[in-house]
Symmetry: C2
Subunit: 344 residues, 2 copies
């Protein structure tokens, strides 16, 4: 039983929805009716030491910021505005006060920057290491909420910024390559990602995005979720995936593959969304206003699963299934078809 099967098992137990529950398990946030025209959005994420962060190289102030960003990212991914934050802190005995104060400062600063407020939570002893669980409550007009399930064949697939930076940054930090100035954007993307909340809210308000989610598990996996919820398939164009220059140099040093980082790396916290082809100009204007270089990376198609189209050195075009866990499948060179799938 993997993590997804565990979620699916829980889902099977849960009974019919309450009338006020618009969206339960299965999207970036749960959605509750506030009144006839507004909803609350609720999301929860946990950060566990040695799984999600390494204190050896993660400054506490940036970790505090990240704890907020990864949660408000889910609110933005539904087209909403984050309002309130609950925090559960697990600290080992004899923890470092100055570390905690810097963490709390970063967390609170990030709350202010995203326009939300810390309103409660709890503290517990956690003998085996730090852990932080946050719940964020956001709001949106009911017709402003963008679900994962709205993608339609013919839609263009967009991402809100370059991919693979966090995966590269984490790999560099793990390998102790921590002081190259040109890798700054890679380190920063792992240590202190920014949530694309303003973009998400504008996409919700304009109604331009048909389906949306944030990229936390990597493009291949996340797009597969979006497609499954929408009952469609997707084709990604390898050459259209946006990166930044230092990625290739980082990949060379780490004996890694840039493309693998971009489709399977995880923790991008960019928005993934689909929109009608005729929305391109409007989207580019909104992107610029938010300071983001939106990139169209593929197309929604009839069917199921995610295919990646790549030009081979000999000029042929290769199609590979990258549905779920794209990283491993791609690395293992598995071909298109069911062999490249992992059940979820």
């Amino acid at each position: 039983m993997n993590e997804r099967q565990l979620i699916e098992y829980i889902t099977t137990l849960v009974g019919p929805m309450d009338g006020r529950l618009i969206q339960g398990i299965g999207d970036d946030c749960a959605v509750i009716a506030k009144n006839d025209h507004e909803v609350w959005l609720l999301t929860m994420d946990t950060l566990i030491e040695s799984v999600h962060f390494d204190c050896a190289f993660h400054p506490p102030e940036k970790l505090g910021r990240k704890a907020v960003s990864v949660n408000v990212s889910d609110i933005g991914a539904m087209g909403g505005k984050p309002l309130f934050v609950l925090l559960s802190v697990g600290m080992p005995p004899g923890f470092d006060e100055s570390w905690f104060k810097a963490f709390a400062q970063g967390l609170n600063d990030a709350c202010r920057e995203y326009g939300c407020l810390l309103i409660g939570g709890d503290t517990v002893a956690s003998p085996q290491g730090l852990n932080f669980c946050l719940t964020v409550i956001g709001e949106a007009a009911v017709d402003q909420v963008v679900y994962r399930s709205g993608a339609r064949p013919g839609d263009v697939i967009w991402v809100s910024g370059p991919l693979g930076l966090a995966a590269a940054g984490l790999e560099l930090l793990h390998r102790g390559m921590i002081d190259r100035e040109d890798f700054g954007p890679l380190y920063e993307k792992h240590l202190n990602p920014r949530a694309r909340v303003e973009l998400g809210e504008r996409l919700g308000k304009t109604g331009l995005a048909h389906a949306m989610m944030d990229l936390s598990d990597g493009l291949a996996t996340d797009l597969a979720h979006l497609c499954k919820r929408s009952g469609v398939g997707a084709r990604l164009t390898s050459s259209a995936l946006p990166g930044i220059a230092p990625l290739d140099e980082a990949a060379r040093l780490c004996h890694a593959d840039t493309l693998q980082w971009m489709i399977g790396g995880g923790e991008d916290y960019e928005l993934l969304f689909t929109a009608a082809p005729e929305s391109e100009n409007s989207l580019r204007v909104i992107g610029e206003q938010c300071g983001l270089a939106l990139a169209s990376v593929g197309t929604i198609v009839h069917g199921e699963g995610v295919l990646l189209l790549r030009q081979l050195p000999d000029g042929r075009t290769e199609e590979r299934a990258v549905t779920y866990g794209g990283f491993d499948h791609f690395r293992n060179g598995e071909g298109r078809g069911d062999g490249g799938r992992r059940a979820v």
Copy 2:
């Protein structure tokens, strides 16, 4: 810096309240305005393996139930009704599927029994052991919410049931005394406490309770919080504290003190509330309707701190300060006054 100082530190960072936030950090729940006449109540609690539960003797189905109960208890303690639950599950690699399924079943059964619905959350890897974080969302009419801050001198202090059972049960379980039928209620109170949600909601609706909270850290500590928030003091009468018969036998076997369990044991998950003396009859009727034997245990007074009045064997009455950490202070035989206080 202890856990409370940590919360206080965070509180100092947080800026002025948002207009929609009625109660932030400092009560059982955060309170957000839903509209002019209704509020949402939000609470969050974490259970960490080896701190809050021991898998050696905690059946997973009961642990799942307890995870819900300790959270909805906070909703009941504000006079509200629990509606929705978010769950974050941290599981180590290679966890036992049947254990998890039993846990999830217990959790979901408890949700149904309390009338609430699991609507989302996340799953994470937790290499060092299990941890579960829950957020519960409840609702109440705005004038139905009972805060910790409403206690008035002259109020009678009430608890909703016997005290010290969970502390005794945990001690017995730790000592391997796990199969005495007469200790069943003690084991059960630790393994599977019931939240007094129905009582809490009725106390909120009737307006009889002036101040209320749930007993999670022990009567001495929790009453001290309630007094501090209300700007009052309290006098508890030792002989009025409700127990059950097996407590004394358990205390004898564990070389413990029944009274210490009752005032400092923690995890009672009974409601602690104050009310006008003339409400006694109405309260007893409501208690009976909820199947609970409410007990009046003391009086709210002018001043500050919590005093415990006890009849000594020689006939004299002893007064001791039990404000905060009542358990240790009482055990150490510290007298009344500042020496018996712990800063929070």
